[in-house]
Every structure is written in structure tokens, then in C-alpha cells.
Symmetry: D2
Subunit: 359 residues, 4 copies
Amino acid sequence: MFNSFGEIFRFTTFGESHGKAIGVIVDGVPAGMDFDEEFLIRELDRRRPGKNRFSTQRKESDTPEILSGVFEGKTTGTPIAIVIFNKDQKSKDYSNIKDIFRPGHADFTYFHKYGIRDYRGGGRSSARETAARVAAGAIAKMILKEVGIKIEAGVIEIGGIRAKTIDFEYAKKSEIFAVDKEKEKEWMDLIDKARNEHNSLGGVVRLRIKNMPIGLGEPIYYKLDNILASAMVSINAVKGVYIGNPNAHKLTGLENNDEISKSGFLSNNSGGVLGGISNGEDIELEVFFKPTPSIFKPQKSIDINGNEVEVNLKGRHDPIVAIRGSVVVEAMAACVVTDMLLLNTTRKIENIKKVYLNN
Amino acid sequence: MFNSFGEIFRFTTFGESHGKAIGVIVDGVPAGMDFDEEFLIRELDRRRPGKNRFSTQRKESDTPEILSGVFEGKTTGTPIAIVIFNKDQKSKDYSNIKDIFRPGHADFTYFHKYGIRDYRGGGRSSARETAARVAAGAIAKMILKEVGIKIEAGVIEIGGIRAKTIDFEYAKKSEIFAVDKEKEKEWMDLIDKARNEHNSLGGVVRLRIKNMPIGLGEPIYYKLDNILASAMVSINAVKGVYIGNPNAHKLTGLENNDEISKSGFLSNNSGGVLGGISNGEDIELEVFFKPTPSIFKPQKSIDINGNEVEVNLKGRHDPIVAIRGSVVVEAMAACVVTDMLLLNTTRKIENIKKVYLNN
Amino acid sequence: MFNSFGEIFRFTTFGESHGKAIGVIVDGVPAGMDFDEEFLIRELDRRRPGKNRFSTQRKESDTPEILSGVFEGKTTGTPIAIVIFNKDQKSKDYSNIKDIFRPGHADFTYFHKYGIRDYRGGGRSSARETAARVAAGAIAKMILKEVGIKIEAGVIEIGGIRAKTIDFEYAKKSEIFAVDKEKEKEWMDLIDKARNEHNSLGGVVRLRIKNMPIGLGEPIYYKLDNILASAMVSINAVKGVYIGNPNAHKLTGLENNDEISKSGFLSNNSGGVLGGISNGEDIELEVFFKPTPSIFKPQKSIDINGNEVEVNLKGRHDPIVAIRGSVVVEAMAACVVTDMLLLNTTRKIENIKKVYLNN
Amino acid sequence: MFNSFGEIFRFTTFGESHGKAIGVIVDGVPAGMDFDEEFLIRELDRRRPGKNRFSTQRKESDTPEILSGVFEGKTTGTPIAIVIFNKDQKSKDYSNIKDIFRPGHADFTYFHKYGIRDYRGGGRSSARETAARVAAGAIAKMILKEVGIKIEAGVIEIGGIRAKTIDFEYAKKSEIFAVDKEKEKEWMDLIDKARNEHNSLGGVVRLRIKNMPIGLGEPIYYKLDNILASAMVSINAVKGVYIGNPNAHKLTGLENNDEISKSGFLSNNSGGVLGGISNGEDIELEVFFKPTPSIFKPQKSIDINGNEVEVNLKGRHDPIVAIRGSVVVEAMAACVVTDMLLLNTTRKIENIKKVYLNN
């Protein structure tokens, strides 16, 4: 349960950043669907580090091996296992911090929870794990494509500077997945500055899901929005999430309510969810990433024996995790929506009859 | 699954606002614990409406009947069922909106998802359901008390006006659960104004959990923070959640990282969670409530046949749901932490030996 | 989890035999279905004790109160809560065995597991809990009826004497649910003899499920047959289960394999399940009940302080639990098949498209 | 969910018999335990075919690669992923049955459920998947060893001939895991005869679990015995299971009840389980295997187009699956008991305090 996500469309991940491999088993994939391996590789490539100066220069070869669940190009309904072997396992890089808890990292908590110090670059808590999520998300997107649902995300705020416009098409081409062409240069300068100062930046990712059917989400505790929230906050470095207009808590009811007309809602402050169920409008949400904890300035900490030490990190790290994080946001959203899509088929007796009686 | 929450400490709720009863079954309660029925009633009373002018004037008699799971004042380890019968079932109140979708409410989505219009005041989607959560939370708090964990919440922002200080002791006495005595009067005036204008307000609830053991939270998908996020966003009217310093995404790594000393962390921007696991500092988070959707101004909408109509609500509603919502925030947090507490006992082989071998 | 059963169609029970009430919450019921309350009552009535001399003379008034999930005669898709208040709570009956562990009962294990002695007639471990299962099963049967699936069970063996023929129509009218009219008298005599000797009998229940669609069951660990096995063995006093021909383990492959023709399988040794998935033939299985542990002869035991004592039970008990158990067998089977039915709708991409694209 | 088993100690398997690999992710393993890789290999070796004439002559190289969850010889608390690459993928062997449903196999049901014919030797439904279970079971046994619990199984009946004595020590050395030295020769002759006649045999496996703590099992639906039943019947070719004395349903209450003394139960008809909870006696159960469906005689069947055909299988198959099945029985039992062991640590408030307060 700890390393699984979803109820029907359920994936389970494994692996440490500097172990032999990471991977994922995706269960609950409907049978008979074309499996687009090229798409899977492209999605992993979008998350992959080392492509430009805005992400870590660490090279990871995210080549997926599909071990099961696909036969002659089609999904078989059995679990799809995907393994990505770690080829760049430089665990020596980490020997200088072997016994030290890095501020802002999970070293301290993993050590105390499990009594084990897996010092190899974060081990299980490393963002490398998110490659497995992106693989699961790629499969989810294949399913969503069959019913026309589309997911897109991009960076809407960096270092406190917020976009003025939202253009997801532009984000696809942008090196930093920027949703605002006008702000892109300013953001790049901020990132360069942070990197030069051995510092890092936080940011905000905006997500949109289009062509949503009405009715996805299982109240009261498996709502579309609370599971999206769970999915988002489970991503490394995410500290918050907001569904719909992120100022809703400052508005009055009159301002915030979305009136309804024959042709749909007249506004979308709700972000496409009412009572935890999709209302047919686009799902809109924002995800808040803290700055990368790996910075290259001296910091106070302690070692596993409780001695106070000064931490001086070396290595290669993203100056801002929100950028690559936006790919993970898309992946997790795709998995949530797919699960809700499958669950919802069981919620009306007429659907059950449609399937079994061809009514 | 849809109406259940938690893995070991798992509760399941049922009931509609204007049906016969609402209630909850709480499973996974450890045996042998004193069951404090007075405390349960007090907790329900804190959430109960109608106590002052800042909540709905609707009277609900939230008298819990404990049907099982407690014997001679002790928990037996079997499911604790609690039923609250609805005594004030004025479904006539709602006859004028029988076929109409109220803006900001779940009427529209429930109707389309299930094909049924349960027009009785929100039915299952009503905030009345949260009484069942508070009952579950009260039991969770009894468990947490056994190991010294304390949960408190209060209102930190109303209508965009934010507190300057955080005083949870004050919040306990405040009619509006205000964490800032200085702001209380200003907030009350805002609320009075909104009510007089037949409008409503949004707000923010702050939560703190004290005396947390290190190690609670099951990475990667059942982390302490992502399940807290799920719990919070599942609450009626909640649109967002932020763990730790709510400006983290605007900060640099140097500003946001919490340095570590022998005697603990030197700051708590993380909100007590690193890598999804508690680090021993207080858990701090904020929960963003939209304004109450029930306002008493004309609004555009449609009816179940697709005709455009003007909605004119009548009735009794909270001018701001965040106030009573703060009690639900506490309850849901208590349930999450209890579940994590129980799960974590199984994560080290030395604990297993301690229990079975008396090592 | 402990007191819940099923994944999509999931029910959760609560209550002790001599507490205030027992009950069940049934989640995952598809919306829009006619709810047949009369049928629910009839099903509970079939299980109810005290109707003839072949079951306990204890009167239980199994009047169900439906607290939620049904509106204007239709299921709403929200949880259906059913409570049965205990009116015949004679806990004094049990005072003489207050501190004693009854042989064959769960007294000993509950006491050691939970550290609590709920001596009121078995408490949670009482067969009274099965009324809640029958209520859940009745709802499952309403769903199965919509697609034509029929479930029937009866007694096929008592005290080692086995039926020669299987006639479920006869079983419906038989006071002891006997599937063989010829054996009925012999079995009744055996039961009378056992009761007169203050002893009890074991027996075997045969289950048949007709009109099964092909394809129900989710391999590898949520197969139709292993979940049926789980369901059956969870019933009080059940010690074993066998799917298909109960001599299969004595046969050769040539004898046991069911050959296949255009018009279906040429035999049904498999009991309608291959690889954990229904093959369209009738599901056939047998359920093995131990004799009622409550007998009225002196037995050696110990008390909660470890002292050796002689137990002398008094009271009213079924001379054989398999009879009323056959109603519970039906109920549990109905719940399993319903869950599998709902799950299976999600397993082919063409079904998903059928529901969302009206393909 | 479909391919996962367990609640806390949860494993998920993947892979087809003639795909690239099979494997398992084991989640919920307590941290800090010595990981005995040699033992894992030995366990897989016990299940491995091709060792003698009593199992299939097909060579499978069950070499496990541990991809995660173990660091410096210790479990880390993160998921342990184990992959076994398939080296002997002779899918040509199966070309002659490409479109044909083999009697007694899952070909028919998988095709209809998923709409896909993965004709490569059973694909996901192949008994090869059980190697993944044995790997999970080996890890479970490492945990059980820490608290002294021991699991053993052997063959107690073949072709209707039942053992007279039960000697698990002998079974360990026996080529056919026979629990009765006296019967071993007779059974071997039966097997030779069946193989020579191109036929196969069914059998019964007996399981014993020693040194059980009192209190394992979570009533009412996650009982020790019903989950053991689920685990056993999920194994390929298993049709039935019986806990305790397999004649209990033929006995009277007086005969079947186990009386209790200061020093324990005076008999063990219950098989160590009362009310679904372990009573401290040995767990005893029997598992009923049907004969191997792969026989080398002409059989009637149909192809995927509905044409009637004669099936003539070739290849290498076990003449009786119960033998190697006994290793899988042990593995599944180990997983169940481990899960129950971990769950039970959370069921008494005194255990929770012991872990967190060092009481």
C-alpha cells in the first residue's frame, strides 16, 4: 500500500536512486488498447535531466524495459511492468555526506524511521523515483486519449514572479515549460542568478485537464479533488495544492460561485470540481514546489551520531525542481483521472446493463 | 472504499443531511483504551451549528448513539458504530429548489453522476456529513492522547485579512475560533457585513500538531503530508492546502531549508515533514476554504431539464464555513495521524520483536 | 479493512450479539436501481432463528432500518446503511460463563488478542453478525437480478450422510433447506437425535450460481474462486470450501478436464471457474460447516485466570449451523459476484468507450 | 489490486510465462532485518522444475535479481523488487495450439475476459507465476524466523491414496515432498503410471505452522483462516481448502470441540484457529489440487473462432502439480501469517504505548 497509488488503475513503484534499477508495475490497465511505446519514451524524455542548463547536468538514461503486460502491441489486461536500470550509479559522489543529514532532505527522517542510512543520493526519497511515475502516467494518458481527455501543465510562477498569461502550447516548446512567453526570459535570468549564487528557487506549476466527462470522482473520501491533492503533494518538493481559482478563500460567495447557463458554467472558479465530482469544465489546479533543498552553500546540520557539522554539498542538482516537476504533475494527474474514469463506469446501473446486456 | 478513509484506523461514513440519520463506523481502534464518551459529545458540540450568530441558525441535535465496539467503558477492538439521528428534517425548506442546481453546490454533479436528484438540502454532499468525521476524529484524539500527541486548529484568515499572531489557546475560547485576538473584532465585523449583504466569506484555517514522534508517514504514496492533503481537501468547501511555510514556493533554498542542531531543527519551514515523514517538529499546515456557496442573492442557473432559471435561496447558512470547518480540520488530521501512528509500529523489525518477544 | 469485504461493492459490518445493534454499510451500490425493501426483509427472515425446531429457539427480531442511500425507492449511489436493533438482549443468560472459555468458541482467542472478555454471548464473534451479511447479500442480489444472475444454496450433507440428488427448488421449501427430498427425513431424525443427546452436527452446503457471464474474476489474487473461498471461510463455523467436483483431487487429468464444444463445456468439474475466471458454466461449490460448538454436555476448559473448570452450557442453540448457514453462503456469494461484476466492466477498453463515447 | 496480495506485507507480481521476465515487488517489509539471499535462492530452487522425473523436464533458471529494498545486507523498509528473467522462452512449442483452448486451462476464460489470446504457454495464467510467490514467501519466512514461527508442507495424498503418518522432516528430503515414507514408493509408482499413460494426477498438500503466537487474524473479514483460504485457492490448480480436521463436518460437537486445559488445548480439530484468530496451537490445513490439465491424449475443444477441434498437446509438464505446489502453499502461508503478525501489533493500545513510550 505504501508504494502503490490508485484503486483500479493502480501502480506500484520501487527502486532507489543509486540502486540497480527503478521501476513500476501498472495494474488495472484495460485490455485491448494499443500500447504506444514511442510515446512512453517521449514522456520519460520530457522528465529526463541533463537536457539544458535549467536542470541538473546529471545524465540519467531513462530507457524503459517493458517486461510484461503487452503482447503484439496491445495491452493484455495483465500487469505492465517497466524497469529502468540505473547506469550512472556514482555512489562515491555521496561519500562525503555518508553520515550527514542534508538540510531540507529526507535523510534525517528516513534514518529515524527505518534505522538505516542509505546515503546513496537520497535512495528511495530521491526525485529519480518520479521517472517511474511518469511511466505510469504515460500509460494513463494512452487510456485517456481513447476517450479524448487531455492533460497539460506548465510553470506559472518562479521565485515569486507570476505569469500574466497562460499558454500551454507555448509551454510545450519552452525549455523551462513556461506558460508565459513574456516572462520566460525573466525567469531564466532568475534561475541563472540562483545557480550562480549556489542557491535554488521555488515555483508553481499550473495544470489543466480538458474534455473532462461530467461525473468523475467518488465522494466522500475518494473525490476527484482530494485524490488529486494527494497525488500532487506526494511528489517530491511539493508543499501545497490549490484547485480552481487560487484566491477563492479571499472572495465572497457572490464572486466565487460559478453561475450556470444552458451552454455550461459561466466561469470556472471551481476548477471543474463541485462536491468532489467533475462538472465538465476544465480541471484547473496549481501545485506549489519548494526550492531545491540541494544548495552549495555551507549549512548547519548534524551527523547520525548527533554531532553538529557543517554540510557542504557538491554534485549536480536542478536549480529549480518545479520545471521537471511539471511533467510529474501531468503524470500523477493522468493516473488519478484514469482511476476515476474506470471507477465511474461502475456507478450507474444503466452502465452495468450496457456492458452485460448490450442495452 | 468511496466512503471510507484510512488504512488501519479506517472510518466509513453514511447518511444524508435530511435522511433518517448520519453516522460512522470506526474500525481499527486498538483494544483496551478508555472510551471517553463525554469528550466525543464535546467535540461534536464544537462543530454543532446554531451556537452563535457566526454560524447557521439551523439547530442540529448531534446526539451520538454508540451502537458497538465499547464494553464497560473500554474499546474492545471491534468496530465502533456511532449514529446521529436527524431530528430537524425540514425537507420542505428545499421544495422551492427541488429541480434547480444551486451555483457552487454539488447538485449539478451528483445529478449527472448518479442520475438522481436528492434535493433535500445537499443530501450526501451536505456539510452535515462532517459531524460523522468529527466523531471519528474524537476517537482518534483519544488514541493520540495515549502517546501525548495534541492537535489544534483555528482561523488565521477571513475575507483576505490575515492574522498577525497565532494563539491556539485563544482560538479555543473565541466564538469564531480566531487565532489572533487583535483581528477577531475586524473579522466579526466582516462576517456581519457579509451576512447583512446576503453574501458569504472564504477563509483559511491553520492547523498545528504537537509532540509528534519522528517517523510517521509511509513513503512514497502514503506520506504524512499527501494524506493530510487528501484529508483536508476532502472536507466540504476546501480548495487548497499548504504544508509548512505557505510562502515556500517564493523562497530560495537557502531561505527555506531548515538547518539542524543537536537540539532539533533551527526553523520549521518544512511544517514538520521531510520526505513525507514527520521530523519531530510541529506539523503546521493551512487549509483554504472557499466562501459558503449558499448566498441569498439572485443567481443564474439551470434546472434538471436544462431550462435557465434564477435561483433565490432561502434558509439558514453559515456566512463562512471556515469557522466550523476548523473543527473538521482537527478531526481529519487526528484520523490521519492515528493511522500513521499505527502503521509505523510495523515498520521496524525491532518493534515487531518488542511486541512478540518482549525484547 | 478488518470488518469490510469487497473492493467496489464493499460492505462494512458492526455490532455485537448482545450490544445495542448490529448493522452494515454497503458502499458501491450502483445508482438508479429499484430498491426492494420487501425482498431485504424476506432474506433476513430466511436466516432468522426460531422458526422451527431445527434452529435455535432464540427469538431475534431482525427488523432492518434503512438509514441512508435510498431515496424515493431508488438507490442513490451513496452508502446504504442498515441497522438492526437488538431487542432480545438477555445478557444474564451468559453470566454463568462470564469468565470461562467455551470449547470450540472464540472466547479464548478474542480474550488473548484484545485483552477484553466480552462475555455477552460471543459478542462480535457471534453468528448474529451474519444477519448483517444477509442484508448486504440482499442488496447484491438486487444488482445481480438486473443482469439475470441467480444464486441458490441448500444443505447437501448432514452428519456424514450425503444427498443423492440436488434439487434447489425443493431446498427453498424445505424446513432444513435440504436439496434432497429423499434424505430430508433421515437428516431430520439425525438432528432430533443430536438435540436430544445435547449434542450437535456438522454439515455441507452446496452453492450454485446460474447465468454467469464469462469473464468474472480478477487474476491473480482477486480471482473469482479464491475470493469466494475467502468469503465462505469467513462465515462462522465454516472450515473448508471446494470449488467444482469435490473429488477433483482424486481424479486423473483425463477424468477431470472438461472438454469443450460449440455449445459449451461438456462437463463441469471445474465448477465454472478456469484460471480464476468464470467460464459461463454454473458456479458450483461446497462449504463445510463444523458442528455447532455450543453443546449441553460437560466439557473441560479454563477460566480467564487459567484455572481448570468444567463448562456446562445452557441456552438455546442451533443443533446444526449449516442449515441457516446456507442463507449466509448465498449472501456472501452474491456479494462476491457483484463485486466481480462491477470490477470486470473496467477490464476492456471497449467497455470504457461504450460507457463514455456511447460506442 | 488484482495482482497484489496482503494489506501491510503486500506483494505484487507481474509477468507471463513466455514474456521477458516475471517478478515481484514486496512492500511492507520491516526495516533492519538481515536479508538472506542464499535462502531466497534455496526456496526458489525447491519450487524449480526439472530436478527429477516427478516434475516437468522443462528447465527454468529461476535466478532472482534483487533490484531494490536491500542495502548492505539489511532490509531498508523500501519495496524489495525481485526480477527473474525468462531464459527458456520457447514460444514455438506452443504454435500448434495458438488458436485452440486447451481443456482445463485458462485459455478460454482469458480470451473472453480480455479479448486477447496470449497463446505463449498460458501467459499470465501459467504456474510459472508461482516463482514470484515463492520469492515473496521467502522474505516472509525471514520475518517469521525473527519471532520463531516455522512453516512446513508436504504431500499427504496422491491419486486418492492417503498417507497414514505425517512426517514433515521426511518430506523435506523426499523427491516428491511425501509426508509418509511408507506411501512414497506407492505414490511414485502411481505417478510413473500416469505419466506413461500420458495422464496426470491430483493430490492433497498438508500445511503446518508451528510456534504461532495467540491472537493473529483480524475478524470478521480478514480472519486468519479465510485469508489462508483465499491464499491457497489463488494458487494454480487448487480447488479446495480445509482448516483443521478435514472430517469436522462429519463429526458431532462433542467429538469436534477441543477441550482446554492449563497447558493448552487437549486436541486440535480446529487447526489452530478459533473465530478466525490463532489460538496458539499449530495451524493445520489441507489444500486440494486438481490433476494437471496438460495431458497428452486427444481431447475435444474449440478454437477462438468457435470451430470444434481435437487438441493434442505436446511438451513437458508435471504429471502432478501438487508436489511443487506444496512449496507454493508454504510461501503463500508465510505471506498471510506475516501480514497478520504485522497487523496484530496495532490491535492493543498497550502495544502502541510499548513502541512509542517505551512502556
